[in-house]
C-alpha cells in the first residue's frame, strides 16, 4: 500500500462511477431524495470509486463503464488526441483508467489509454522543452494531472540546465516562504 498517504491517489479514487447493486443493503440511505434508507437489488446508484471497488471485490455490485471512457471520448482520441480536453472529463484520466480496467468488463480500456498517452506524450515533451513560458499556452489546460507532472519535470530540467550554463545564485530562499520577499521601504 505504497500509495496510502498519496494525495493524488486519494483524489483519483473519489471519482464517481455508476454501479448496479446485486445485493440489497439496508441502513445506508443518506441519499437526500429517497424516502427509505434501503437499497434494493438491481437499483442503479452512483458511488465514489473507493466504495464501488471494495463492494465489487465482495460481489455486491457490478460496475459500469464510467462516462469519461465512453464512445465520444474514444472517437475524439482516435481523431486527434493531442487536442482532446481530458482534464474536463477526468483530471486523473490515466490513473483512473488503470484502476477501473480490472473491475469493469471492458477489455479495450487499456489500449485506449496506451494510444492516447503515446500520442499526447510527444506533444507534451516538445511543448515543455520549447515553450517560452508555461502559463501562456492554452495547452496546459487540457492536460491531465499525470501529464502536468511530466510537463513540470521537463520544464524544471530545462531551467536547471540553463542556470547551470549561465551560473546563477545557487542558494535559494526556502520555497515555503514564497518567491519574493516584499522589500519594505
Amino acid at each position: 500500500m505504497a500509495k496510502y498517504y498519496d494525495i493524488d491517489d486519494i483524489i483519483t479514487e473519489e471519482e464517481i462511477v455508476s454501479v448496479i447493486f446485486q445485493k440489497p443493503a439496508s441502513g445506508v440511505g443518506i441519499d437526500p431524495s429517497s424516502e427509505t434508507d434501503f437499497i434494493e437489488t438491481g437499483s442503479k446508484v452512483e458511488l465514489p470509486f473507493w466504495l464501488a471497488h471494495e463492494l465489487q471485490l465482495r460481489q455486491a455490485v457490478s460496475v459500469n463503464v464510467p462516462p469519461c471512457f465512453n464512445q465520444k471520448t474514444r472517437l475524439e482520441i482516435q481523431a486527434d488526441s493531442a487536442s482532446v480536453d481530458l482534464r474536463s472529463r477526468c483530471p486523473f484520466f490515466y490513473e483512473f483508467g488503470c484502476k477501473i480496467a480490472p473491475i469493469v468488463s471492458d477489455r479495450t480500456i487499456g489500449f485506449l489509454l496506451l494510444s492516447a498517452f503515446k500520442s499526447r506524450y510527444k506533444e507534451v515533451l516538445t511543448k515543455a522543452h520549447t515553450a517560452a513560458f508555461a502559463a501562456g499556452s492554452k495547452f496546459w489546460t487540457i492536460l491531465t494531472k499525470e501529464e502536468i507532472n511530466l510537463y513540470e519535470a521537463a520544464q524544471s530540467a530545462m531551467i536547471s540546465f540553463k542556470k547551470w550554463r549561465k551560473g546563477g545564485p545557487r542558494f535559494q530562499i526556502a520555497s515555503i516562504l514564497g518567491r519574493k520577499r516584499k522589500s519594505t521601504e
Binding site: Y5, E14, P24, S26, G27, S43, E46, A174, L177
Partner: protein, 294 residues
C-alpha cells in the same frame, strides 16, 4: 423564463440563475427531455447550495439566505414528488456524500502548490471525525440488529451486512483521508526544520495548529541534540559546495553584533558581506539575505 438557448451543448444549463426560478418552472424543466442528467445536476447543485449555506464564508445577506433556504426546501420537496412520477426514467441517486468532507479536506491541502501549507482547517477536521463516530454508531446498530435476529455475524450475508459493510468502508476511507492530511503536513514541517532551522517565521506559524507547532519544536530540539552529539552541523551544505566563502547582500534588518563562526558582523540593510558559506546558508533560506554572483 427558461428558454432553449440557455441550455448549453451537453444538455445542462447555467445554474447561476437557477435561484430565480420558481419551483414550478424547475418542475417543468425536469419534465422536459433532459430528465436524468438535469436531475443529477440539480441535486448536486442543491446539495452544494445547502452545504454552502452553512458555511461562514458565504457572503449572502440574511434575507437572501432565507430566500434560498425556502427555495431549497421547496425544490427538494418537489424533487421527491417528481421522483415517484418519473420512476421509470429512474433517478440515479448519489450514494450520499460519504467521505466527501474528508476528500474536501485533502483537496484543500492539495490546492496550493507542492510543498506549501494551507491554514490548518480544524473545523473540517472535527466534522470528519464526528462523521466517523456517526458511521461507527450506525455500524454497531446494524450489527446488533443482526445479532437480535439470531444470525451469525461472521457469515450471514443479508442486507444489514452490506449496510454495515458500507459504513465500515466509509469509516476506513475517512481515516485514510485524515491520516494523509496530517502526515503530509508533518512531512512539510520536517523539511522546514532542515531548511530554516529552529525558529518558526511568523507567516508559517499562523498556518499551523497548536500540535503542529509542538511537533516542530520537538523535532528541531531532537535534531539539535543529535547534531551536538555528532559535533557536526547537518543542515548546511544541502547544495554541493564550490567555495568556502560567498558574497551576500543583506535584505532585511537582522540586527547588530551577530556572532558568526569566525567573526562578529553588523548586518545593516543593503550591506554586502563576504561570509563563510555555512553561516550564510541559514540566513539565505529564511530570505534575510541573498547571494550575489559575479
Amino acid at each position: 423564463m427558461l428558454t432553449r438557448n440557455r441550455i448549453d451543448g451537453t444538455g445542462g444549463f447555467l445554474f447561476s440563475d437557477l435561484s430565480k426560478h420558481t419551483a414550478s418552472t424547475l418542475a417543468t424543466m425536469i419534465h422536459l427531455r433532459w430528465r436524468t442528467e438535469l436531475q443529477l445536476r440539480l441535486r448536486n447543485f442543491l446539495y452544494t447550495l445547502g452545504q454552502s449555506l452553512h458555511s461562514d464564508s458565504l457572503s449572502f445577506s440574511r434575507h437572501k439566505r432565507r430566500l434560498l433556504v425556502n427555495r431549497l426546501c421547496f425544490c427538494s420537496f418537489r424533487l421527491r414528488r417528481l421522483r415517484s412520477i418519473l420512476s421509470p426514467y429512474s433517478l440515479q441517486p448519489l450514494l450520499n456524500m460519504y467521505g466527501r468532507k474528508a476528500c474536501e479536506l485533502v483537496k484543500e491541502f492539495a490546492s496550493v502548490g507542492k510543498g506549501q501549507l494551507t491554514q490548518y482547517n480544524s473545523d473540517l477536521f472535527e466534522q470528519v471525525v464526528a462523521e466517523c463516530s456517526q458511521h461507527h454508531l450506525e455500524l454497531q446498530s446494524l450489527i446488533r440488529k443482526m445479532q437480535e435476529e439470531g444470525l451469525d455475524v461472521q457469515t450471514a450475508r443479508n442486507a444489514d451486512h452490506y449496510g454495515a459493510l458500507i459504513h465500515h468502508l466509509a469509516l476506513v476511507r475517512n481515516k485514510r483521508c485524515l491520516m494523509a492530511y496530517v502526515n503530509n503536513r508533518a512531512e512539510i514541517i520536517r523539511s522546514l526544520v532542515w531548511k530554516i532551522g529552529s525558529v518558526l517565521p511568523k507567516e508559517i506559524e499562523e498556518k499551523l495548529s497548536h500540535t503542529e507547532e509542538e511537533y516542530f519544536n520537538k523535532y528541531s530540539g531532537e535534531l539539535k541534540k543529535y547534531m551536538s552529539k555528532m559535533e557536526l552541523d547537518l543542515t548546511v551544505d544541502m547544495v554541493p559546495p564550490k567555495d568556502p566563502y560567498i558574497k551576500v547582500r543583506v535584505l532585511d534588518d537582522i540586527g547588530d553584533g551577530i556572532v558568526l563562526s569566525d567573526k562578529t558582523a553588523n548586518f545593516a540593510r543593503h550591506s554586502i558581506h563576504f561570509l563563510k558559506r555555512t553561516d550564510a546558508e541559514q540566513f539565505i533560506s529564511r530570505g534575510l539575505m541573498e547571494e550575489l554572483t559575479g
